[in-house]
Amino acid sequence: MNFDFSDDSRLLRDQARRFLADRSPPALARAALTAPPPGLDALWREMAGLGWLGAGLPEADGGAGLGAEAVCVLAEALGHALTPLPYLSGICLAAEAIARFASPAQRAAWLPRIAAGEARAAFALAEGVGDPAPGAIATELRVGRLTGEKWPVADGMAAEVVVVAARAGGEIALALLDPAGPGVTRAPVEMLDPGLPHARLVLDAAPAERLPGARDVSDIAALLDRAAVPAAFAALGGAEAALEAAVAYAKERQAFGRPIGSFQAIKHKLADVYVAVELARSNAWYACWALDQDGAALRLAAATAKVSADAAFFLAAKENIQTHGGIGFTWDADPHLYYRRAQMLSAALGGPRYWRERTVAALETMN
């Protein structure tokens, strides 16, 4: 029994935390609400240089082959720092889809460039309101051309390649799309956290290249399961940061002649947040192990971790605002950054209903 990260992973986590504390303070996330801050692209390339973008990819694909633990600790650190960059959508979803389902030529064309931070990739599953399900995909892939609408697509404006989920005959397929190519109209979509820009893609017979490995909706579900684990770590990191901020403020802020953290209304609220964060942490760690094993345990573990972490992050974020009182709901203070990010993460891979349903469906096959 060793339910902890390896020494290498813990070292990587500490390095990531230190690097991001310097390069990605909350001020960066706040600046990104208004417009992409200068230096963001450079930061992405630096992350690539540190091996982060290819951490989960095999060395043959230009990755670092560090495995699931590395991806998870990076996601947690990026979530803690609220870094306004598309690690989850670009790396954990899009690059992962290419790594799992693409032909050797497609892999060679994209993965080394993605890992090096030279090309940005996006993943287009959603078609507006709704959770992932075969019936929710109307976009069609026919004779190499995509027709339909995809939104919201994370990083869809900046991406050089988009992995698009589409209907192809009776199957659900994935295809690579050049979003700057013919038949594609793209426009930004305003999101709760403008620091993670999203796009709407209108596809009218846009040329696309199918990923041969993805043949079924279950392939997409499995991809989402895998991405849910780092997504849970990102939410965990955000929840930790929000709790830390609330505790620090409660110790320092005075009212009625005493620190507000000495009032039980605040103490017990933050104790509840702590409990939620610790449960989310344990569930995330277990899911990391299951991701690494890539076996039958993953489906339930990933869904459980996602449910747990998203709930903890929303709780921590809203009670961090509440603990801050008036200052907490101002634009210039940090608390709303966590609150926005919590909702973004919660909706990104299918909303809470999707992951609760997946949790119970997995439980039913076990119990």
Binding site: A126, V129, G130, T330, Y354
Partner: protein, 409 residues
């Protein structure tokens, strides 16, 4: 029990409704509201015009004396008016704080010439008032404020900073609470004044809220000179004056915030889950039932208040209940609505998000509701202490001179 108006009430209601219908369209829930509800010059002009029209027709200051332009009517008429007005798309009420809190305080503490000068103008919307109590370092502990007023001849000289001042940027006058004696315990060293917001030494800076709106302001005082005749109550009696103001805050009717239960039902009808309308999903139905029960309970609690008012009784702590319930409910309904939207839950674009992103915007404005005008925690304290009679919190600073009361943040 009888929910019908008396003949007199019915006549008043008909009169009110006819007047409203002649001036404004009815509210349409389906129409998207202006995003932030901020008050610009156009909106301010509309608001003033509407207030003047109301005053001309006898619908402003319904319970106020006729001599100051009021109607000399009953509290129940005021409630009936509020009910009817809430059905129409009238301009944002920029006079609520002035007429609901500041002028009633003047009426209690100012002398006749001051009232003659100010009351009617405020009632007609010609002058707008704000309340200057909150401070950055004080928060829920209002009496911990630090803005100093020091006597200098016939004047007081004010230095310091206020915060969360609604509408300060368009207000003409303000009700100020300042510390005039830091050597006594904190509640004993305060004094109240009315001030001219356009006087030199007053600077107003808007506060940008997380929702994007800017309803509140910071107000800075630099050597603001306030003549002693603008003092309300005796020096050191400011806390008593402030309690009069805050007591009136409880009576101010706040509109329930959206998204509300009706919005959730509308969304659940519009959104499809697994091929069926979301409202057919049992998990959705269970939540709707719970929030409906709370909403209905608040509605009927207001009926109880109205009944008490119509009998001339002072209403109880219903507003504390309403605020505690509504703020949390708004946040929870907004979050739940976003769950129903799945992958589009975080889309804020009103052209794409269902119901013009009402739920997403509600999520962003909800945190302020749990804080502004009394935090959830303070309201629970009020209910526990004033209604249930439970003992007060231990107060470590109560009897200590303000300038010696330990660390202050």
């Amino acid at each position: 029990m009888d929910f019908d108006d008396t003949p007199e009430e019915a006549a008043f209601r008909a009169e009110a409704r006819a007047f409203l219908a002649a001036h404004h369209p009815r509210k349409d829930r389906a129409r998207a509201a202006a995003r932030y509800g901020d008050v610009d010059a156009t909106e301010l002009a509309r608001a003033r015009a509407w207030q003047a029209a109301k005053a001309d027709a006898g619908f402003a200051g319904i319970t106020w004396p006729r001599e100051w332009g009021g109607r000399g009517g009953s509290p129940i008429q005021q409630i009936i008016w509020n009910q009817e007005e809430a059905e129409f798309d009238v301009p944002y009420n920029v006079f609520l704080i002035g007429l609901g809190m500041c002028i009633p305080t003047l009426m209690a503490y100012a002398d006749r010439p001051v009232l003659d000068r100010f009351v009617a103008k405020a009632l007609r919307g010609e002058e707008i008032w704000c309340q200057l109590f909150s401070e950055p370092a004080a928060g829920s502990d209002v009496a911990g404020l630090r803005t100093r007023a020091e006597r200098d001849g016939a004047d007081w000289v004010v230095n310091g900073q206020k915060v969360w001042t609604s509408g300060a940027h368009y207000c003409d006058f303000g009700l100020l609470l300042a510390r005039t004696d830091p050597t006594v315990p904190k509640h004993a060293g305060l004094t109240a004044f009315w001030i001219d917001m356009k006087a030199p030494g007053v600077e107003v800076r808007p506060i940008h809220q997380m929702s994007g709106a800017s309803h509140f302001n910071e107000v800075f005082f630099t050597d603001l000179r306030v003549p002693d005749r603008q003092r309300l109550g005796a020096p050191g009696q400011g806390w008593k004056v402030a309690l009069t103001t805050l007591m009136n805050e409880r009576l101010a009717v706040g509109e329930p915030r959206r998204p509300d239960i009706h919005d959730l039902i509308a969304l659940a009808r519009a959104v499809t889950l697994d091929g069926s309308p979301a409202i057919e999903d049992k998990a959705v139905r269970a939540r709707i039932a719970g929030w409906w029960a709370d909403s209905a309970g608040l509605t009927y609690t207001r009926f109880r208040t109205m009944t008490a008012l119509s009998r001339g009784q002072t209403p109880g702590p219903e507003n504390s209940i309403a605020k505690v319930v509504n703020a949390a409910k708004q946040q929870a309904i907004a979050a739940f609505g976003m769950e129903l939207l799945g992958q589009a839950g975080a889309v804020l674009d009103p052209a794409l998000a269902p119901m013009a992103a009402l739920f997403q915007e509600g999520l962003l404005s909800a945190p302020a509701q749990r804080i502004a005008g009394g935090t959830d925690e303070i309201l629970r304290n009020i209910i526990a202490e004033r209604v249930l009679g439970l003992p007060g919190d231990i107060r470590v600073d109560k009897d200590i001179p303000f300038n010696r009361a330990g660390a202050r943040g």
